[in-house]
Amino acid sequence: MEFLSDFFVAPIMEMVDAPEFLAEVIIAGLMSGVMYSLVGLGFVLIFKASGIFNFAQGVMVLFAALNFVGLMDSGVHPIIAFIATVVIMTVLAMAIERVVLRRLVNQNQLILFMSTIGIAFFLEGFGELIWGGNVRPLDIGIPDDVVFIANGTILIQEADLFAGATAALLVTILALGFRYTAVGRALRAVADDHQAALSIGIPLNNIWVIVWAVAGFVALVAGIMWGTKLGVQFSISIVALKALPVLILGGFTSIPGAIIGGLIIGAGEKVAEVYWGSLFGGAIEEWFAYIVALLFLLFRPQGLFGEKIIDRV
C-alpha cells in the first residue's frame, strides 16, 4: 500500500505543489532530448537512404567533436576548425562508402548493422589515438548565463536555449533541403525504392556518400553541443546510444519522429528520475529510455510515427 501511494500519489502531489520546479525539470529534460534528437536525426538520414541501421552514429558524434576540439586546442580558429571537421567527416563518409558499404551491397541488414559496430570501434580507437582519451573541455563562446522566465520563477541555461535553437535551425535546413533541392529529391527517391532509383539513373554510391556526410555534419553539431555541456569524452558515445530507444519511439524512417521521440524520452527520463528515481534506488535514467523502447517493441513495434511493415512472399 505504502509503495503504491509512493508510486502513484506522492510524485503527482509533488508536481502539483511545485509546478515551477516541474517545468524546470521538463525543460532540462527537453534539452538533453534535443541531443538525442540530433543523434537520432543522423540515424534516420542514413537509414532512410540506405536501409542501414548505423550503430556508429553515436561514435561519429564523438569523433567529430574530438576532431573539432583537437584542432581548436592546437590553436586553429573555431570557424576554420569547423570547416576542417566538416571536410574530415566528408572524407570519412567517402571512405566508409568505398571500403565498407560498396562491398556489402545486398547483404542482409544484420550483417550491415554488425559492420557498423565494427566501424564504431574503429573510429573510437582512431579518434582517441590521434587526439588522446582525456576529457577535453570545449568552449566556443556559447553564452553560459541563466535566464529567468515566467516572472522569474523558472530558471533556464542560456546554453540550452542556444542548443535548442541550433537544433531547430538544423532540422529546418535539412527539411527544406530534402524538399527543394535536386539532391533532396534523389534522396527521397532512393529512400522509397533503391532499385527504381538506380534504374532511372540516380547514382546510388554518390547518394550514400552525401547522406553519410550530412549525417557526419549533424554529428558534428551534436558533438559541439554536447561537448560544450559535458566536455568531449568517451562517454558521449555511450550516452548517444540512447538515440536508439528514441528511434524505436519515433520510428526509424521519420525525421519528425526522431525529433519528437528525442524530446519525449529526454523529458520523460528526467521526470522519472526526479520524481520516481529515489523510490527505486536512483539512477533509473540509465535504463528508463530502453525499457520504454522495450515496451514499444512489444506492443507497437512501428513506433509512434513509423509505417506498418507488410511482409510479402
Binding site: 541501421f53 550503430f55 571500403v99 565498407v100 562491398r103 556489402l104 547483404q107 542482409n108 541488414q109 544484420l110 550483417i111 548493422f113 554488425m114 559492420s115 559496430i117 565494427g118 566501424i119 564504431a120 570501434f121 574503429f122 573510429l123 573510437e124 580507437g125 582512431f126 582517441e128 589515438l129 588522446g132 582519451g133 555511450i238 546510444l241 536508439l244 530507444p245 528511434l247 524505436i248 527505486f280 534506488g281 536512483g282 539512477a283 533509473i284 540509465e286 535504463w287 530502453y290 525499457i291 523502447a293 522495450l294 517493441l297 512489444l298 513495434p301 511482409d311 512472399v313
Partner: protein, 357 residues
C-alpha cells in the same frame, strides 16, 4: 592427401549422422581432449589461471551467442548482462542452499538466466534484425542497474561486491580463494566440454534446423510449420543459459568476486566479436573466436616490449579498438563464416596437399 574423407564409407544413415562422421576428425578430437586433460601437468599456473580458464569460460558464452546469432539470426547486445544474471543467480543459489553441489547451483543459475533471456527475447515475436539490438540493450542496462541497486542480490553485503562461497567437488576446492588453478581449470573444462557437446547435438537436431530456417527465411519457415515464437524463444532461452553458466563460472572460478563491472556493455561487444571473428554459425568458431579475442590483447600488450619499443598502455588500447573494429568489418565483408571457415579451407587444402594438381 594428409586429410581425406574418401574411402571412409557409411553404410547406414545412423553412421552418416554421427556427430563426427569422418574418422580423421574423430582422432583429432580424441587428441584434443587428451591434450586438454594433460594441460595442468605441463602448463604454468599463470597460464592455467589467467589464460586457459577465461578462454574456456568465454567459449561457453560465445557458443551461447552463436546459437542465437549465428544459427537463429537474432542479435543480442546483452550477453554481458546475461552473464551477470548467471553470476548473481549462482551467488544467490550457492548462499541460500549451501548444501547444493556447486555444479547444480551453476546449472540452476543458468536456468534462471534462461527465464530472464526469454523475457527480453519476447519482442523478437514481432520484430527482427537490429530492432532486437535495442531490446537486448535494454537488458544490458536494466539488469546491471538491478543487480547494483537492489541489495537483495548481494545478500545485503556492505561493499556490494561479495565473494563467491568456496565449494568442493570430489573433495577438492573448485571455487573460492583456496581453490587451486588446476582444479578450477578442470571444473571449467568439464562445463565447456559438456556444453559444447550439447550445442552440437542441438544444431544437428530438429531445433537447430528450425533455428537456421528462421534465420535464412522466417516467412517460409513459418509456412512450413515452424512456429517462429517458440523457435526464437528457445534460442533466446538456450543462449541465455549458456551466458548465465559462463557468467557464474567467470565470477566463481576466475575473478572470485561477484561484481557488475565484469559484465558491462563492453563484455557484450567482446562476445559479439568472438562470434563474428570466430565464425557465425559455427560452434568450433566460438573456440577460435574466444581464443583469438582473449589472447590478442595480451599479445598486443607484450609485442612492443619484445621488439624493444615503448608504447604507452592507452595507445595500445586505442590500437586494440581499431584493430578489432577493422577485423569485424573485414570478416563480415570477406568471410562471414570467420576463422572457422578459414580452418575448413585449410582442411580442404590438406586434402590435396602435397599433390595439389
Amino acid at each position: 592427401m594428409l586429410y581425406r574423407e574418401a574411402g571412409d564409407f557409411k553404410t547406414t544413415y545412423a553412421k552418416d549422422q554421427a556427430l563426427i562422421p569422418i574418422r580423421q576428425d574423430r582422432v583429432m578430437l580424441y587428441i584434443a581432449i587428451a591434450l586438454a586433460l594433460l594441460l595442468p601437468f605441463v602448463a604454468s599456473d599463470y597460464f592455467l589461471g589467467s589464460i586457459a580458464i577465461p578462454v574456456l569460460i568465454m567459449v561457453i558464452a560465445a557458443t551461447g551467442l552463436n546459437l542465437l546469432l549465428g544459427y537463429c539470426g537474432q542479435i543480442s547486445l546483452g550477453s554481458g548482462a546475461f552473464m551477470a544474471a548467471g553470476a548473481y543467480m549462482a551467488y544467490k543459489c550457492a548462499t541460500a542452499f549451501p548444501w547444493l553441489p556447486m555444479p547444480v547451483s551453476i546449472i540452476l543459475a543458468g536456468l534462471a538466466t534462461a527465464m530472464i533471456g526469454i523475457a527480453f527475447g519476447l519482442p523478437a515475436v514481432r520484430i527482427k534484425g537490429f530492432y532486437l539490438a535495442v531490446a537486448t540493450l535494454a537488458a544490458q542496462f536494466f539488469l546491471l542497474w538491478l543487480f547494483t541497486h537492489v541489495p537483495w542480490f548481494v545478500n545485503y553485503t556492505m561493499s556490494g561486491v561479495p565473494t563467491p562461497p568456496p565449494a568442493t567437488v570430489l573433495g577438492v576446492y573448485v571455487t573460492g580463494a583456496d581453490a587451486p588453478n588446476w582444479a578450477k581449470y578442470l571444473f571449467v573444462l568439464s562445463f565447456t566440454a559438456f556444453l559444447t557437446w550439447i550445442a552440437y547435438n542441438l544444431v544437428r537436431s530438429r531445433i537447430g534446423r528450425s533455428w537456421m530456417a528462421i534465420r535464412d527465411m522466417d516467412i517460409a519457415a513459418e509456412l512450413i510449420g515452424i512456429r517462429p515464437l517458440w523457435t526464437k524463444l528457445t534460442a533466446f532461452a538456450i543462449s541465455s543459459f549458456y551466458c548465465g553458466v559462463a557468467g557464474a563460472l567467470w565470477s566463481f572460478c576466475f575473478i572470485n568476486t561477484v561484481e557488475p563491472t565484469a559484465f558491462d556493455i563492453n563484455r557484450s561487444f567482446q562476445i559479439l566479436f568472438m562470434v563474428i571473428i570466430g565464425g557465425l554459425g559455427s560452434i568450433l568458431g566460438s573456440y577460435f573466436g574466444a581464443i583469438f579475442i582473449t589472447l590478442f590483447p595480451i599479445f598486443l600488450n607484450s609485442a612492443p616490449a619484445w621488439l624493444g619499443l615503448d608504447i604507452p598502455g592507452d595507445i595500445i588500447t586505442h590500437l586494440e579498438f581499431m584493430i578489432f573494429g577493422a577485423m569485424i568489418v573485414f570478416f563480415l565483408i570477406v568471410e562471414p563464416n570467420g576463422l572457422a571457415r578459414l580452418w575448413q579451407l585449410g582442411k580442404e587444402k590438406l586434402r590435396l596437399w602435397p599433390f595439389p594438381h
